[in-house]
Amino acid sequence: MSTLSADPYRTSLRTVADWGLVAIAVLTLAALALPVGALGGAPVGWFGGMMGGTLAPLFLIGVVLAVVAGRSAPKRVWGAWVELGGVALAWLLPLHLLNEGVDLSAGWGLWLFLVAATLLLWRVMGVLAGVPGWTRSVVVPGLFGLGLLVGWEVLVRGFQVPAILLPPPSRIASALAAHAPVLWDDFRQTVLTSVLRGYVMGCGAGFLVAILADRLPFLARGLLPLGNLASAIPVVGIAPIMVMWFGFDWQSKAAVIVVMTFFPMMINTLAGLGNSERIQLDLMRSYGAGYGRTLVKLRLPNALPFLFNGLKINSTLALIGAIVAEFFGTPVVGMGFRISTEVARMNLDIVWATIAVAALTGSGLYGGLALLERATTAWHPSMRRR
């Protein structure tokens, strides 16, 4: 309000300089005055360790060159890619120092430098997020994830966090490789046996009952409130009961999954079947099409987005159901069994590896369903956004 009278074309400090870049430069300069770490208790400076063997100055020069080159690139996007190279170089420096045996926990110069590099990464992502299509939807989240992973690695190793609290990703990866046979057995037991069977049975039953309830409105009116109730209550809690009834093997896990996935699938299918427009139903009637034809030609295709929604929700639920049910008892194999027993033995490497497998499995199932959905419902407005 106070600026109303001021000259709107006045150059302000805001427009004169690129303050983000200034901040990065100031941080970097401040970092140069501080040590990058310690070797044998003695602090190591940026340039002091030359004969000791650290290549810190080379990294520094590389980053500065990348930023300068990026700034003078003819297009901002090209510049962003060059600056990204600089960011990568900056984050490689701590890994190099760690390999040289430098203790980073007191290297405040290095950490300041990394903060500056993170700021730079943020700016690069900002530019790339403006590029529509593949860059925006894959590269930017990919960079974010990679940044998180590298940050985790460097921080955990740099500050020597005990592995019992949080191992670095590299250690989890090596545990994955080292315990591959055990993990594969667990995967086969939990996912390929319990989850798959329970998922198919639960979703299939939910779908069929929904079709039935669609024909018998009385059934639908009775089941829908029950379904809503089931979504409100902690259904996983039946796991101990199912283990008692069906024993330790896959049957009890599948039973838990069936109970967990039945109602979401039923509700979604019913909603999908009710989704056809009046006018489309009239059209089928004007063709003299009966119930069956209307179902196959109109209502099921129309319900596909809803069906996939149910299937996607259930894929995560099924995995959760199987793993939690395994906490209550299994034959001595399975992901839930592995997690609960190895946690008790403080064997955290293998636990983290199992969690990584579970995470990948969950994302994989979900992603696979999403791809299938994309392939079969490409016509739907929600899929059409370019």
């Binding site: 989240p141 974010f144 019992i164 009116r221 959760i320 906490f327 946690v343 994302s363």
Partner: protein
């Protein structure tokens, strides 16, 4: 009203009937065995009566569960570990703390995502991907890790709940904060209102219905999170602990009572959210 109540009643009655039949069927062999071992004649009526009155049935009857609930709720002081209310409170406390943390985190993330394109492009895909992970599997892990740095009791469970809740809230709030009509946003611009002003007086109120819709989902999963978070602690307190100890000692009636209590807790919390929604949004004139 009758048109809606009748099918639900019929379904519920059918379910109860199925429960009794199932209880008879599942408990039959055990009941018959008990009778023959006691040297009594195994007539149909005797076995049936025995099947419905066992101490550790495979499937307890609804009346046994209700009796157990009643005894536990009225027989002991609410602070006693033998009273289910005590365990319910332990679970509810964790669930609500987690929900509050998830709410704060979710709204913060959503505001960040709505206002900065970089965050939207980089973070939102991970928020969605994070929910395809069976996070409950990590529950024991989180409990143990936080236990290692000296955090025990409420907080580890609340962290699990937070992680479970934040996703629906973030996604709902991103939708909600964007749901303000572009016309209204333009109107705000004609008033030359600042971004903050537009956030508080337009975007936030517009997002409220979305927030409550997400909250209802979050409350339910928060209770699940609290229960699963109680499993690895070895079973001192909480509904999850009751489930675990029940399953160790074959106390099926106890398991069912804990399950019913958990359902009641969840339904009650959702009802509270719904009530809040009615009060807050009713007053604001949003239907």
């Amino acid at each position: 009203m009758i048109k809606r109540a009748l099918p639900v009643t019929v379904m519920t009655l059918l379910l109860l009937a199925a429960w009794y039949v199932g209880a008879a069927w599942l408990n039959w062999p055990q009941a018959a065995e008990t009778l023959t071992r006691a040297g009594k004649p195994a007539e149909f009526a005797d076995v049936l009566a025995q099947a419905y009155a066992m101490k550790r049935p495979i499937l307890p009857t609804p009346d046994q569960v209700v009796a157990e609930l009643w005894n536990s709720l009225t027989g002991y002081a609410p602070t006693s570990p033998r009273n289910l209310l005590f365990h319910t409170w332990v679970t509810a406390e964790a669930a609500l703390t987690g929900l509050a943390m998830g709410l704060a985190l979710g709204i913060l993330l959503a505001a960040g995502i709505v206002y900065t394109r970089t965050l939207e492009a980089s973070l939102l895909p991970w928020v969605i991907a994070s929910q395809t992970i069976p996070i409950l599997a990590i529950a024991p892990m989180i409990v143990v890790i936080l236990g290692n740095i000296g955090l025990t009791g409420l907080l580890p469970k609340a962290v699990i709940c937070m992680y479970l809740c934040f996703f629906p809230i973030t996604v709902g709030m991103v939708k909600g904060l964007r749901s303000a009509d572009p016309l209204w946003l333009d109107l705000m611009r004609t008033y030359s209102a600042s971004g903050m002003r537009a956030f508080w007086s337009l975007r936030l109120p517009a997002s409220m219905p979305f927030l409550f819709a997400s909250l209802k989902v979050s409350v339910a999963i928060s209770v699940v999170g609290a229960i699963v978070g109680e499993l690895p602690t070895g079973g001192q307190a909480g509904l999850g602990a009751r489930l675990l100890s029940g399953s160790y000692y074959g106390q099926t009636v106890q398991i069912w009572a804990a399950l019913i209590m958990a359902s009641l807790l969840s339904v009650a919390l959702i009802a509270v959210v719904r009530g809040l929604e009615l009060v807050l949004l009713g007053r604001a004139g949003v239907r």
